[in-house]
């Protein structure tokens, strides 16, 4: 038994009230489905049913798009821009006021540690709304012409890994530019989007400006293929992204895609080793590795491989896996049974292909979906675990000898979303950054986000940028 056992310190659930059943948020109010059905959303940490939500049908999607169109034409686009700012600021403040409630709800529905939803997700949500609130009345200074116009109705489909944050990334710039939106949250994590719908009501946002339709893949398809949509924004898997790109190509519809990744986290021999190890841990075990820009390939220079790996293993031994609501939890639950099965399958393939697997001693809870933090050493570029996105807490470790080899290996992937470079040598950081084909290159840090910084991918990681001034382009007619 450890000398210093941390007593469980769970965040109270009583702060959040979850309804038994949720309708669809269309035209400013919740309404029952017309042609859909109901399904249950569970807590992945306990498999407990949290609420019943609607799987919206095509007629529901049509109602939502119609409401969004009406709001676009009659209220939102014609509103003085400063008024749009006012609403966005109001939403941002409401998110801050309800931060604890939203964090608990997010951790319950998603399985992520409360420390992350409290310290990362929700503060970034508020920051995004504040940031884009500031742009709403300054669009003529964005560099996209003297009076850039909105596009119309945006159909937005978001993933389950950062439910409310991805909603913010989508809705804040769309609204700032004068568009209205129909947003579909992921089927396993609809609750914070529905809580956001309530925030829109409390902010007195005109009806129809934001519409939330819950559901699964078919609902998403109905939304992105709806003829009344002017723009599609999608964050999710590369496979679905390709389907959406094909659908949008048929009718020439604008779209932006933020898809998968297989980021290289590159550690040079002169790196600050202790901080690099923190960066490796944060790169792959943050949010259980359910991060499109996760540093899932560690490229470590051969001369420091032993030191880095010893240090990494020791550090992994201190990771605390368990109840997502416990304030001391570092690694939470895998979001769904399906995702857990996918992670297990790829991890098993890694072993079959000859890489060696290691996890720290770590007791997994009996109920819910769990996977221990895992590293694979002896991985080569030819292994599937070095090429395919696992989207879980699984790190593939490769080595390199020279900066040129690091670049070659890092870029040798169909993806190109992010990369990390760890070295105390500034010139090497710049040399690497100019050669890495990745949308984001972090230097001596990893998984850092800021609303002012654009985010997006190369190659199969998608196209278009979210965040910053660049993020406005996707919602303006430029």
């Amino acid at each position: 038994m450890a000398k210093f056992e941390y007593t469980p310190a769970p965040e109270s659930r009583s702060i959040v009230s979850i309804a038994d059943s949720y309708g669809l948020f269309i035209d400013g109010k919740f309404s029952d489905t017309v042609d859909g059905r109901m399904f249950k959303t569970i807590s992945p940490a306990s498999e407990e049913v949290l609420a019943e939500v609607t799987d919206a049908g095509p007629a529901d999607v049509d109602r939502a798009v119609t409401a969004a169109r009406k709001a676009y034409e009659h209220t939102w686009a014609g509103l003085p821009p400063a008024h749009r700012s006012k609403y966005l600021f109001r939403i941002a403040r409401l998110v801050q006021e309800k931060a604890r409630e939203l964090a608990v709800l997010e951790s319950l529905d998603n399985g992520k540690p409360i420390r992350e939803s409290r310290d990362v997700d929700i503060p970034l949500v508020a920051a995004h709304f504040f940031y884009y609130a500031g742009w709403a009345d300054k669009l003529e200074y964005t560099g996209f012409g003297p009076a850039p116009k909105p596009l119309g109705v945006a159909g937005q489909v978001i993933p389950w890994n950062f439910p409310l944050l991805m909603l913010a990334w989508k809705i804040a710039p769309a609204l700032a530019c004068g568009n209205t939106v129909v947003l579909k949250p992921a089927e396993t994590t609809p609750l914070t989007a529905l809580a956001f719908a309530e925030i829109c009501q409390q902010a007195d946002l005109p009806p129809g400006v934001v519409n939330i339709v819950t559901g699964a893949g078919e609902t998403g398809r109905a939304l992105v293929e709806h003829p009344g949509i002017d723009k599609v924004a999608f964050t999710g898997s590369t496979e679905v992204g390709k389907q959406i790109a094909r659908a949008c190509a048929r009718n020439g519809r604008r779209h932006t895609l933020e898809l998968g990744g297989k980021a290289a986290n590159i550690v040079f021999e002169d790196a600050a080793i202790d901080q690099a190890v923190e960066g490796i841990v944060n790169g792959i075990f943050f949010n259980q590795g359910h991060v499109c820009c996760a540093g899932s390939r560690l490229l470590v220079q051969e001369s420091v491989e032993r030191t880095v790996m010893e240090s990494l293993r020791r550090r992994m031994g201190t990771l605390r896996l368990g109840d997502p609501l416990d304030k001391n939890t570092d690694v939470g639950a895998i979001n769904s049974a399906a995702q857990l099965a996918k992670i297990r399958e790829l991890a098993d393939i890694g072993e079959t292909e000859g890489a060696s697997r290691w996890s720290p001693p770590c007791e997994l809870p009996a109920k819910g979906f769990w996977f221990p933090p895992t590293i694979f050493t002896g991985v080569s570029q030819a292994h599937r675990i070095a090429r395919e996105e696992i989207f879980g807490p699984v790190l593939s470790v490769l080595t390199f000898r020279t900066p040129a080899e690091a670049i070659e290996k890092a870029n040798n992937t169909p993806y190109g979303l992010s990369a990390g470079v760890w070295t105390e040598k500034g010139s090497l950081i710049l040399w690497m950054a100019s050669r890495l084909r990745a949308g984001v290159v972090w230097a001596n840090t990893f998984n850092r986000f800021d609303p002012a910084s654009p985010f997006g991918g190369y190659k199969e990681s998608g196209y278009g940028r979210e965040g910053g001034r660049h993020g406005l382009e996707a919602y303006l007619d430029v």
């Binding site: 000398k3 210093f4 007593t7 600050a272 901080q275 201190t318 001596n444």
Partner: protein, 313 residues
């Protein structure tokens, strides 16, 4: 690597060959660990552990034998209302008062720590510094808290700093014949960078320090979480390389139970639980003790009592 092998021009190469410390990353990690939530039984354990790790300190020009005697009484029985409260690890005084403390603490198991080497600036000749150490040891100090020559360190004169530590260690007496334990104060508030803190930590350990200590308490900033974390990493790595365990003592500015518990979390998740022991981790403090006692009583009774219910010494 033996001490003699590292001394000389190799010392500089070695210290500058240590991995750097990234300021942003180190501070972020320390801040994350500071957000750990330690409640109920864990808090109870941590408060008692923290009390037993205190070097109860008075280092003022106005110190008198009476003041030191009072402090020693407090050290032996921190909470007269609750005899289950543990005693502290040591009482830390100036050399001229070490004898008073030694007399008062005889047989109590509480160590007598004395600052020496022209504390706090260390600006004196080596003869004076060594005489200071010898007088402290002769007066009954079994722990000596020396200061390094920060000027020499910042000027890159590592050999000088190294040899001073070696000489002071000798002046403490042979370890196997009850020589005093040597704590080396780096005065991290004057070293300014974490790279320097790491180098100074290694330098002190290579020269024979039994403990490395952050600060004199006379320079601001004194102990901080990230500085202590860098030092804990150093003792962890040093033990791995050399097989010898060295203790760590943050001192100055640690005033509340919350602060103290954060340091214990830092120890637990950086160097590991081997250091969660008064033999390997100390907190240099004075007012901290009463806050710990107040929190301890609150946990036991469910009520806060006012500061007048705890003795001021």
């Amino acid at each position: 690597m033996s001490v003699s092998a590292i001394a000389g021009s190799d010392l500089r190469d070695f210290l500058h060959g240590l991995p750097g410390v990234d300021r942003v990353g180190a501070e972020a990690r320390a801040a994350m660990l500071a957000s750990r939530s330690i409640k109920t039984t864990a808090k109870q354990w941590a408060i008692d552990m923290a009390i037993s790790m205190i070097d109860l300190t008075t280092l003022e020009g106005q110190d008198t034998p009476g003041k030191v005697r009072a402090l020693c009484a407090k050290a032996k029985q921190p909470d007269p209302a609750d005899p289950t409260a543990p005693k502290v690890a040591a009482v830390c005084v100036y050399p001229d008062l070490a004898q008073v403390a030694a007399t008062e603490l005889k047989g109590s198991g509480i160590h007598v720590a004395s600052v020496a080497t022209s504390f706090p600036s260390g600006r004196a000749s080596m003869e004076v510094k060594l005489a200071d150490v010898k007088s402290a040891v002769a007066a009954g100090a079994d722990e000596v808290d020396m200061v390094i020559d920060r000027g020499a360190f910042l000027a890159g004169n590592y050999d000088l700093v190294f040899s001073e530590i070696v000489e002071v260690k000798q002046a403490c007496g042979p370890a196997d014949q009850g020589g005093a334990h040597l704590k080396v104060i780096l005065e991290t508030g004057e070293l300014l960078t974490y790279d320097n803190v790491r180098r100074a930590s290694w330098l002190a350990m290579l020269a024979g320090a039994d403990f490395i200590k952050t600060s004199t308490g006379k320079v601001s900033p004194a102990a901080t979480l990230p500085v202590t974390m860098v030092m804990l990493e150093a003792v962890r790595d040093y033990r791995e390389a050399h097989g010898r365990q060295v203790g760590v003592k943050p001192a100055g500015g640690i005033r509340t139970s919350k602060d103290a518990i954060r340091y214990l979390v830092l120890v637990n998740e950086t160097a590991g639980e081997d250091w969660l022991d008064p033999a390997w981790f100390r907190l240099g403090a004075s007012s901290l003790l009463n806050d710990l006692l107040m929190q301890r009583t609150k946990l036991a009774t469910g009520r806060y009592s006012g500061p007048d219910y705890f003795t001021l010494d």
